[in-house]
């Protein structure tokens, strides 16, 4: 019987967050603190002719104005060692998007910094922007990076079986091209940080981010500061969702503090934040499916073109995941898909919950719906007919070892969904759709800079209380609470005895990035390795003291006791107090490495369903019911898990029905949160139903899987397919707005 696992332990940071005491980066106030401001490029693409900073320097209260020539180091950084992003664009070079920085200001107040940035005179020679991947691929298109021929950022390919033979054997072939929108994270806390050089010459960065090690690497690469003099400490993060995974403002902030000699706070305005950080890749996905009359899918072929934006070091991985995710949870033995990432002068693209897989799910699930119409079969029946069967290896570059639970999910989904409700009026139609998916989570395949494996340290103090240190980041997902639960469970202590410290590059073992739904799995396992070692030490010492055999001893309530004689016990605190005398340590580091194949991924099998009612006169969509069902492996904390599932589902709803961050000639057309709309409390479905099943994942901590991203995945196509079912016409517009529904209804009536 587990005491802490599977229980909704209250989150450790909740008190501070509900009382307003939690200090986010923008709340910090250091002595002599100055304020930073970034001057961004006025043009998506322009040759920078000259910069005159004198008018800014003349403003009282301005401490420092920095341009490219002032920077120590290479002035280049970028994820995955693609070091082609300048911290500041130097005169003579071209800007590549509106988020390129031109100059940095450090001043006594935010208002002065803002005024000074405006006063800097920049002479640009504007050039036409490359504003779409298709345009970027034309032979005469300007090159955004000299080395990137055809503006190609990356080309990924996945091939399996014999595609041509597969299509020859197909009796019905369907094909469609889908355009998925750029999605903005819209975390409530914009990019922010405070930096200073401490009395030992160490540059300290306190900032909201998802990859402290990547940030330290970028600062080192760009500014040439030795790594031993860079300390990154992550402040409570006001939402990330992938948008704070790449380095955001931290290199700029580091330059400000390093060169000005004063502590600097830099907080982006919302309007700057909206164009600055990398977004979900907009994609054009052409997909073709061939099937036999009985519905058996014979082959899939397609091409993905992703708008990488100007830099996007993540595109290689994101596009790789998109093409790997196209086949989903279906048995498709002949597959040929190509993915291209193409540089443009649009906003940068990068990580966003799902990491390329949601786009794949949209294309696949919409096309399967079209195939069902062509075959005139129930869409869910068609999906069932093509399910991967237990024992099948998924046909995908992302191989996995998760037990296949599609049949159980399917059955459970039907229970949660219930009968389809009747329409509420004569001009109304109710539609229903069901989708399945198997999004991946990282089990340790993602390399950790300078280290293999992912670490956690657990220490039992001399009073019996326990500290756990790990390099993961608390984004709000609750990882600190989950790790406290795992620590407490394995050491058989009260969860309130455990404190978890996260994400300080100087005090926590390396954990790599907080992404890919990986922390519960990789850090949970690292903690268990550390607590396992502690248990062994505790039992060995207790065996000596109690004169018992180790196998007679158990851990209970912070003590080691004889299983048969609970009165004969010794408290952890007592063991801890004597440990140092004998040179023992009750502080252990656990390093988790995936035991076998580095390129195995976990899969979170899932299902989603929607009932919608469409008004055929107006195209208005009423969301009657949305069901989201995940195989979580093992739920460590039901309330936190539900929070992830709700949040991801509603982000998927936003992607499907509301959100599109558009640009024109490289300029953002939705520059505020009044124009870029995300779901509010009024946009929820009338019933939002969550479900989970638990098929233990053999190598997961207590059987747990990663679940942070999964629920988003097939929410979007499920909603679209439900509308298609209601109106009886194909839907391929994302996001699907009322006007698109109306257009589909009118097209259908014309036919």
């Amino acid at each position: 019987m587990m005491r802490h696992i599977g229980r909704s332990v209250e989150r450790a940071d909740a008190w501070g967050k509900v009382t307003g005491q939690t200090k986010y980066a923008g709340d910090l106030q250091l002595p002599r603190q100055h304020h930073g401001r970034i001057l961004f490029s006025a043009h998506p693409r322009a040759r920078l002719v000259a910069i005159d900073t004198a008018p800014a320097l003349a403003i009282p209260g301005v401490r420092k104005v920095i341009t490219a020539g002032d920077l120590p180091g290479s002035n280049r950084y970028g994820y995955n060692s693609v070091l082609h992003r300048p911290v500041l664009v130097p005169p003579g070079e071209e800007t590549r998007f509106v988020g390129d920085a031109i100059a940095l200001v450090v001043a006594e107040s935010e208002a002065i910094a803002r005024r000074a940035a405006k006063a800097i005179f920049v002479n640009y020679d504007p050039l036409p922007a490359v504003s779409s991947p298709r345009q970027a691929m034309l032979p005469d298109a300007p090159r955004i990076h000299a080395a990137a021929e055809g503006n190609c950022c990356c080309r990924r390919e996945f091939a399996h079986g014999d595609v041509a033979a597969g299509f020859r054997g197909a009796e019905v072939i369907v094909e469609q091209t889908y355009f998925t929108p750029r999605q903005e994270h819209a975390f409530l806390e914009t990019e922010a940080g405070v930096a200073f050089v401490d009395d030992t010459g160490v540059l300290q960065i306190l900032s909201c981010l998802q990859d402290p090690y990547g940030v330290a690497e970028d600062i080192h690469q760009a500014l040439g500061i030795p790594k031993s003099r860079i300390r990154v400490k992550v402040t409570p993060v006001g939402g990330g969702f992938g948008g704070k995974l790449d380095t955001t403002l931290q290199v700029h902030l580091a330059a400000m503090a390093w060169l000005s000699g004063v502590p600097v706070r830099l907080v982006l305005d919302r309007e700057d934040s909206l164009f600055f950080h990398a977004k979900r890749h907009p994609m054009e996905i052409r997909l073709r499916l061939g099937a036999r009359r009985d519905g058996t899918i014979q082959a899939m072929e397609g091409e993905v073109i992703a708008d990488a934006g100007p830099y996007s070091g993540r595109t290689f991985e994101v596009v790789g995941l998109t093409i790997s995710a196209l086949t989903g949870p279906y048995r498709i033995n002949n597959v040929g898909v190509v993915g291209l990432g193409i540089y443009t002068n649009n906003l940068d693209s990068g990580a966003f919950r799902g990491f390329g897989a949601p786009q794949a799910a949209i294309a696949r699930e919409l096309l399967i719906e079209k195939l069902a119409r062509a075959l005139d079969v129930e869409p869910v029946e068609l999906r069932r007919r093509n399910f991967l069967q237990p024992g099948d290896r998924p046909v995908s570059a992302m191989l996995g070892d998760s037990p296949n639970s599609l049949a159980e999910l399917d059955a459970r989904l039907q229970e949660l969904l219930g009968p389809k409700p009747p329409a509420s009026g004569p001009s109304k139609r109710v539609g229903r759709a069901i989708s399945f998916d198997m999004p991946v989570f990282d089990v340790g395949a993602i390399p950790v800079l300078g280290k293999s494996g992912v670490g956690a340290t657990v220490e039992i103090h001399s009073d019996g209380s326990v500290s756990t240190h790990a390099g993961g980041v608390e984004l709000g997902q609750g990882v600190a609470t989950v790790l406290a639960q795992i620590t407490a469970e394995d050491l058989a202590i009260d969860v309130n005895q455990v404190r978890v410290e996260l994400s300080d590059t100087w005090t926590c073992p390396r954990a790599g990035r907080t992404s890919a739904s990986r922390l519960t799995y990789v850090l949970g396992n690292a903690v268990l390795l550390a607590t396992g070692a502690l248990r062994a030490t505790l039992i060995a010492r207790a065996a000596e003291r109690l004169q018992a055999r180790p196998d007679q001893l158990v851990l209970r309530d912070g003590a080691v006791q004889l299983a048969e004689e609970p009165d004969r016990a010794i408290a952890f605190a007592e063991i801890a107090r004597t440990c140092s005398d004998r040179g023992d340590n009750l502080r252990e580091e656990g390093w988790y490495r995936y035991p076998e194949d580095r390129y195995i991924y976990g899969h979170t099998f899932m299902a989603a369903a929607a009932d919608v009612e469409v008004d055929l006169g107006t195209g208005d969509i009423r969301l009657l019911k949305l069901v989201n069902l995940l195989d979580m492996g093992k739920v460590i904390n039901p309330t936190l898990a539900a929070g992830q599932q709700y949040g991801a589902t509603v982000q998927g709803l936003g992607l499907g029905l509301m959100e599109s961050m558009t640009t024109k000639d490289g300029r953002l057309q939705t520059p505020t949160l009044a124009e870029y709309l995300i779901p509010t409390a009024l946009d929820l479905p009338e019933a939002l139903i969550l479900g989970s099943i638990e098929t233990p994942y053999p190598t997961g901590p207590y059987g747990a899987k990663g679940i942070g991203e999964a629920a988003l995945n097939c929410t979007t196509p499920t909603l679209l397919n439900a509308v298609a079912d209601a109106v009886g016409a194909e839907i391929c517009q994302v996001p699907l707005l009322q006007e698109h529904v109306l257009a589909a209804i009118m097209r259908h009536e014309d036919d």
Binding site: V18, A186, G238
Partner: protein, 151 residues
């Protein structure tokens, strides 16, 4: 100007164009009220002005002259959370926490005005407070539980 914040009277010199939000955060150090957009779009800076929820970024500090402001820091007593704060903790209504102070303030205003709101009325009351983490459901659950006395 004179203003009472969380029951404490203050006398301050503020520039006429300073927002109530900047006054609270920068002049009084009450950083629990968050700046998410500075344009009235996100609701993270919601405070109560004479009991009425406002976006502090859209109110000038001088407009609070002689009035009472309640921020998140004034909601709990020394040793006890407000029932809404307790419910937010228990129902998982908090993730990243950045929208939480504004959400709690909107919820307090709602329950002062409408002690027994329907779920739809709760959704209406939160319409001006964006949250990107939770999908709102657990926030609505928490408020409903307090209203029903089960929080």
């Amino acid at each position: 100007m004179r203003v009472t914040v969380n029951g404490t009277p203050h006398e301050l010199n503020v520039a006429p164009h300073r927002s109530l939000l900047d006054m609270l955060r920068e002049d009084l150090g009450l950083t629990g009220t968050k700046k998410g957009c500075d344009a009235g779009d996100c609701g993270a800076c919601t405070v109560l002005l004479d009991g009425v929820p406002v976006n502090a970024c859209l109110v000038l500090a001088v407009q609070a002259e002689g009035r009472a402001v309640l921020t998140i820091e004034g909601v709990a007593t020394e040793d006890r959370l407000h029932p809404l704060q307790e419910a937010f903790v228990r129902y998982g209504a908090v993730q990243c926490g950045f929208c939480t102070p504004g959400m709690v303030m909107s919820a307090i205003a709602l329950l002062n005005e409408t002690p027994q709101p329907s779920r739809t009325e709760i959704q209406d009351a939160l319409a001006g407070n964006l949250c990107r983490c939770t999908g709102y459901v657990q926030i609505i659950d928490a408020i409903e539980a307090v209203a029903k006395g089960t929080g």
